[in-house]
Symmetry: C2
Subunit: 315 residues, 2 copies
C-alpha cells in the first residue's frame, strides 16, 4: 500500500489552490529543434518562494488540525524547503523553526528570516541536526515537516503534475529531477491516476546518482558523497518515495556537470528563464543522446526551481 | 495628423496575431512591497527573438504587397531590430539584409545569421551605414524597414499595449522604456484609443536622456553621446515618434546606471526573469523616489527584452 494515493493528490490540489501559483507551461522553438522533440516546460521556478517545494509545504501545513498547527512546525533544511515551510507557516499564521547548519550561506538564512521563519543553527552533522530538531519538537510541541519523505509533502508536489497534464494534451512522457524523490514520487502518483499512458522518467546528476543505481539494482542505494552543482538533488531517496518510484518510473537518466551547466545557460539565454542547476538537470536529459532511445515525442520537463545565487555565473 | 492611428494599431494586431507571441503579464509580491504599488509586468522578454521588436518588424514585413516583398527588406541595426527583422522576413519567405558595423559583437551577427538573415558589414559611422543601406536598396530593390521611425513599426509595437490593457483591468498608468520612441509612441496611440484614462510615462537612462530633455523643452533634443548599459535606449527620438510622445506622455523619468543594475538583478533574483538592461530601466523608475509623486497605484511595466550577453554579470 503506497504512502500516497491519487485521491490524496487531488485533495492536496483542492487544499492548496488558494495559496500556490498555477505555474505556466513555456515552449521554445529553439529547444524543440535542439532536442528533436516537442518540449513543455513546467515553470516551477515561478512558484511562490521560487520552487515547487511550496506546494508540499503548503499542503502539509494547511492539513494540520488547528490545535496541532498552533504549536508550529519545524524542519531541518538549508534549501528550498526551508523557505517554503517558513512562508507556508506564515500564511497559516503559525510559527516555523528551521534548523540549519551554522555553515549554511548567510543568504539562505536571510531568505528564511525574510519569510518570517525562526532560524536555529546546528553543527553541520546529521546527528546534531536531528538532536536540535528533537529539542525543538520537545520544547515547543512543533510538528516536524520533513523536506520530502512525508505523505502530505509528496501529495502536494504531485499537484504540479495535474496542472501539467491539464495544460498539455497528449503528452508522451515527463522528465522530473530526483533528489529525495518527493517531486518524482508525487508525479508518479498523480500521473498514474490522471493518465497512466504518460511515461515517467527521472533526471539525476551523474555525480549524485543514488536513484539511478537504486532503480538499476532494485534496492534503495545510499548516496555516495555527492559532488554536483545541482544542490537540490544531493539527498538520498526516501523510505516512502522509493517504493513509489520503483514501481512507476520507467528509467532514470544521468547527466554530467558540464551538461547541467550547458543546459542551464541555454535556458537562461534562449528561454529568458532563471533556473537553478537542479532544474537544468531535466533539460540536460532531454537534450542528451541517451534520451533518444525513449522515442518520446511530446515531453514535459519540470523546471523545479529558480533559486540560484547571482554573485557569480556557473559557466 | 499623427503618423499612426488607433485603427492602424488594431489592424496591426489582427495582422501579426498568427506570428507573434501573446506574452504573459507577471506579478510579484516582493516587487509590489518594494514599490508600494501593484505592478504588472508585460513580459516582452518572452516575445519571439527575445524582444518586442518582433511585433513591429512582423507588422511591417507582413504588410508589404507581394511584389515589393519579393525583393526583400533591409535595415541597419546591431540590436534587437536586426534579429527581429531577419526572422520576420524568414517567416514571410523573403530575404533580409542587415547592415551592421564591423565592430558589432560576433554573437549579434551570429544571431541574425541564425534567423536566416544576410549580414553586410559597414564602417562604424552613420554615413557609411546609410551609404551601404542605399547600395543594398539600389542593387536589390529591397525595402528599408527602420528600427523605430516608421508607421508600421510603431503600430506593431503598440499591439503589446492592447494586450496589456485587455489582461489588466483598471490600470492607472504604464511605464515604457524609451530609446527611439517606437515602443513608447505605439503605446501612446494604443492607449489613447483603447482607454485614455491610463496615464503613460517614459523611462530613460539619465545617461541617455534626450527624450526627457525633449519633453522638458518642448523641442526634440539631440542625444548627447550616450553612456548607458541600456544598449537598446541609446538612439535619438524619431521624427515620427516625437510628436506622438510629446502629445500623450505625461512625464519621462530618468534613472542612474546603478539603479538600472540593481533593478535588473532584482528581477532576475526575485521574478526569475532574464531581462536586458533596457528592460530594467522601467523597473528602476517604478522603484525610484521620483515616481512616487505620480500616486499611480496599479502600474504596467514593460519588460521590453531579454537579450543580454551571459558571459559576465552586470553587478
Amino acid at each position: 500500500m503506497p504512502a500516497v494515493s491519487f485521491a490524496d493528490v487531488c485533495a492536496a490540489a483542492d487544499r492548496i489552490r488558494r495559496f500556490v501559483s498555477r505555474t505556466p507551461v513555456h515552449t521554445s522553438g529553439t529547444m524543440d529543434r535542439l532536442s528533436h522533440r516537442e518540449l513543455f516546460f513546467k515553470c516551477e521556478n515561478f512558484q511562490t518562494t521560487g520552487s515547487f517545494k511550496y506546494r508540499g509545504a503548503t499542503n502539509a501545513v494547511q492539513k494540520l488540525d488547528a490545535a496541532t498547527a498552533s504549536r508550529g512546525v519545524v524542519t531541518h533544511s538549508s534549501g528550498n524547503h526551508a523557505q517554503a515551510l517558513a512562508l507556508a507557516a506564515k500564511v497559516r499564521g503559525i510559527p516555523a523553526t528551521i534548523v540549519m547548519p551554522r555553515t549554511a550561506p548567510a543568504v539562505k538564512k536571510q531568505a528564511v528570516l525574510g519569510y518570517g521563519g525562526r532560524v536555529i543553527e546546528c553543527e553541520p552533522t546529521i546527528a546534531d541536526r536531528l538532536r536540535v530538531v528533537s529539542e525543538v519538537e520537545r520544547e515547543t510541541g512543533a510538528v516536524l515537516i520533513p523536506p520530502y519523505d512525508h505523505p502530505d509533502v509528496i501529495a502536494g508536489q504531485g499537484t504540479a503534475a495535474l496542472e501539467l497534464l491539464a495544460d498539455v494534451p497528449a503528452l508522451d512522457a515527463v522528465v522530473v529531477p530526483v533528489g529525495g524523490g518527493g517531486m518524482l514520487s508525487g508525479y508518479c502518483v498523480a500521473i498514474q491516476g490522471a493518465n497512466p499512458t504518460v511515461r515517467v522518467f527521472g533526471a539525476e546528476p551523474l555525480n549524485a546518482d543514488d536513484a539511478a543505481r537504486s532503480l538499476a539494482t532494485g534496492e534503495r542505494q545510499p548516496q555516495v558523497p555527492p559532488n554536483s552543482i545541482a544542490d537540490g538533488l544531493l539527498t538520498n531517496l526516501g523510505e516512502l518515495t522509493w517504493p513509489i518510484i520503483q514501481k512507476h518510473v520507467e528509467g532514470i537518466f544521468t547527466v554530467s556537470e558540464a551538461e547541467i551547466v550547458a543546459a542551464m545557460r541555454l535556458v537562461w539565454e534562449r528561454m529568458k528563464l532563471v533556473i537553478e542547476p537542479s532544474a537544468a538537470v531535466g533539460v540536460a536529459v532531454v537534450l542528451g543522446e541517451a534520451f533518444k532511445a525513449t522515442n518520446a515525442r511530446r515531453v514535459g520537463v519540470v523546471l523545479c526551481g529558480g533559486n540560484v545565487g547571482l554573485d557569480r555565473l556557473y559557466w
